[in-house]
């Protein structure tokens, strides 16, 4: 579906995307995970054929974006990072008009709009203007709009950023349904739980580069331990405690407000910590996540 080789985007002298290689296969859900400024949106815009690559090669649906931009875009659905709904139109009109941009017949987009309003749970708001809708509703409308041309490939740039947990779960549910119906999903996120939930495969991006690639499980198995023990001490600086913990875990990460001990058995490690006479304010044993993978690979946390 997407094949990028040494794909590069520079803005002036600044390199936003630095020679990345990406292959996305039909039917999978593929993620770009990375912090703000990693180059995720720049990559998505190149894939969406609205930003010409500076260097490298890019093929989408077997076509060349430089030559076949309109033909490719006709088969894509795009959910940009920031909603770009048409505020001069109603909810329903947003769908109708957008469908017409794809050259679809009026009758077709009318039927499609009804179906998508249902899908996005916006039927009751069909004739409302866009402006007063909640963030979650606007996001659902943007996703509904991106489906008006029955895309083969759906690009979602941070689909749930800024939404409350409930709205996020509604959206995830919609995305699962799409995936089941055979749509290829490509999404960016800086939420590791989103990446774990939705993605079959993902790449971890940082500073314009890809630093790791694989399924969420593979990445965790490769770059982290099974469990993590989080310790908080009554101190402003956690670094001195790290030395007192040597030998208790495979690896210790020092964060400003806590210590992370990478281990295969969190409870056993917690017991060992207690035996050394240390008394943390709080102790939490949990499973490893992509957040830990990211921390290990880049030395930084994903969401600050």
């Amino acid at each position: 579906m997407i094949s990028a080789h040494r794909l590069t985007k520079r803005f002036g002298g600044f390199t936003a995307v630095d020679a990345i290689d990406v292959e996305v296969r039909r039917g999978e859900a593929f993620g770009f995970l990375g912090p703000n400024g990693a180059g995720k949106s720049s990559t998505m815009r190149m894939i969406g054929c609205v930003s010409p690559p500076t260097d490298g090669s890019l093929r989408i649906l077997g076509l060349d974006p430089a030559k076949d931009g309109p033909a490719i875009r006709a088969r894509l659905g795009v959910v940009p990072q920031r909603d770009t709904l048409d505020e001069e139109l109603t909810v329903r009109e947003n769908l109708l008009v957008y469908g017409r941009y794809f050259g679809l017949s009026r009758a077709h987009v009318r039927a499609k709009a009804d179906e998508l309003l249902e899908f996005a749970q916006l039927t009751e708001r069909a004739n409302s203007v866009v402006e007063p809708l909640s963030g979650g509703m606007k996001r659902r409308l943007t996703i509904a709009r991106s489906l008006v041309n029955d895309p083969e490939l759906l690009l979602l740039d941070e689909p749930t950023t800024g939404l409350d947990p409930q709205a996020r779960h509604v959206l995830w549910d919609r995305l699962f349904r799409l995936k089941r119906s055979g749509v290829t999903l490509v999404l960016t996120t800086h939420y590791m739980d989103e990446a774990e939930q939705l993605c079959d495969r993902l790449v971890v991006m940082d500073g314009g580069r890809i630093v790791a690639e694989g399924s969420p499980r593979e990445l965790i198995a490769l770059h982290s331990t099974r469990e993590v023990l989080e310790l908080r001490f009554a101190a402003d600086d956690h670094a001195p405690y790290a030395t007192k913990l040597t030998g208790l875990a495979q690896r210790v990460e020092v964060l400003p407000d806590r210590l992370l001990l990478y281990t295969d058995d969190g409870d056993a490690t917690a017991a060992a910590v207690a035996r050394r006479g240390l008394e943390p304010l709080s102790v939490l044993a949990r499973r490893s996540t992509l957040e830990d993978v990211f921390l290990h690979l880049t030395g930084r946390t994903l969401v600050d």
Binding site: V50, G69, P70, P80, F102
Partner: protein
């Protein structure tokens, strides 16, 4: 619009999918929600016609329309008002309205994610400006004819002539708009339009000017618009009118090319 589309397709311009009409459709829908703006475009030229043409005209009497022919002042000034209205309407649409869509509504960010390209945006927006302009000029022509200041059947051609003026000014206005940074910059546009409105042989003949400045007046696009319109509405048509048509056509096509290029540079980065 298809003529504009054909020209645009034939030239090496930024990409498009030939779907500009769908953007026109979008504007028509949005317009239904905010039709109030229609009113000023409709009445302004009529106010001018009656205050200046009929009111002031009573004091002025007849005027030499060139070629030794005299007409009453209202008939003399009506074509100029129609040309100026075509200019103002096109400029308003392609500057204020476009700037809003470009900078605030971010309309084209979503449009360009569909098969539509920058050329479709330029053609679509200008076509829309022309359609609105056609509504204004038709109303104006009907009222002017009812008031008895239209003297020839050639005046029917004043409608496409108004569209040509609109094309020229909308295309250039759109290009200019892509360079504007804030609402303050719009003062420069007013600074260019007002002198043109007052001095392009709109209210009195070119012969009023001294030989030494006539070339300057004749260099402005509105001069050609007014002259073309006056020839048609007074029924004074000769081959010379083609010079005006050529001037405005070149301005329109070049403006369209530049506008599409600029949209591409601005949005597809």
């Amino acid at each position: 619009m298809s003529a504009v589309g054909t020209i645009a397709r034939a030239l090496p311009v930024p990409a498009g999918a030939g779907l500009a009409r769908t953007l026109v459709e979008r504007n028509a829908r949005a317009f239904r929600h905010g039709w109030v703006t229609l009113v000023s475009g409709l009445f302004e030229p009529l106010f001018y016609l009656f205050s200046l043409g009929v009111g002031l005209g009573a004091l002025i009497g007849d005027i030499d329309a060139g070629g030794g022919r005299t007409v009453e002042y209202a008939a003399y000034v009506a074509p100029a008002m129609m040309a100026a209205a075509a200019m103002n309407g096109a400029v308003f649409d392609s500057t204020f309205n476009l700037f809003f869509k470009l900078k605030y509504a971010k309309l084209y960010d979503s449009v360009l994610a569909t098969p539509l390209g920058p050329r479709d945006v330029a053609v679509g927006e200008i076509t829309w400006a022309l359609l609105r302009g056609l509504l204004y000029s038709t109303t104006f022509l009907a009222v002017a004819a009812a008031a008895g200041v239209v003297h020839s059947w050639w005046a029917v051609l004043a409608l496409p002539a108004a569209s040509l003026i609109g094309l020229a000014f909308a295309a250039v206005g759109m290009t200019v708009t892509t360079y504007l940074r804030s609402w303050q910059d719009f003062d420069y546009i007013q600074l260019a339009l007002l002198p043109m409105f007052l001095f392009s042989a709109t209210f009195y003949p070119l012969s009023t000017y001294d030989e030494s400045v006539r070339w300057l007046v004749q260099a402005t696009p509105l001069y050609h618009g007014v002259a073309m319109m006056r020839d048609l509405m007074l029924g004074d048509v000769s081959w010379g009118i083609l010079a005006h048509v050529a001037y405005l056509s070149v301005m329109g096509v070049l403006g369209l090319l530049f506008a599409a290029r600029r949209i591409e540079r601005l949005l597809l980065r």
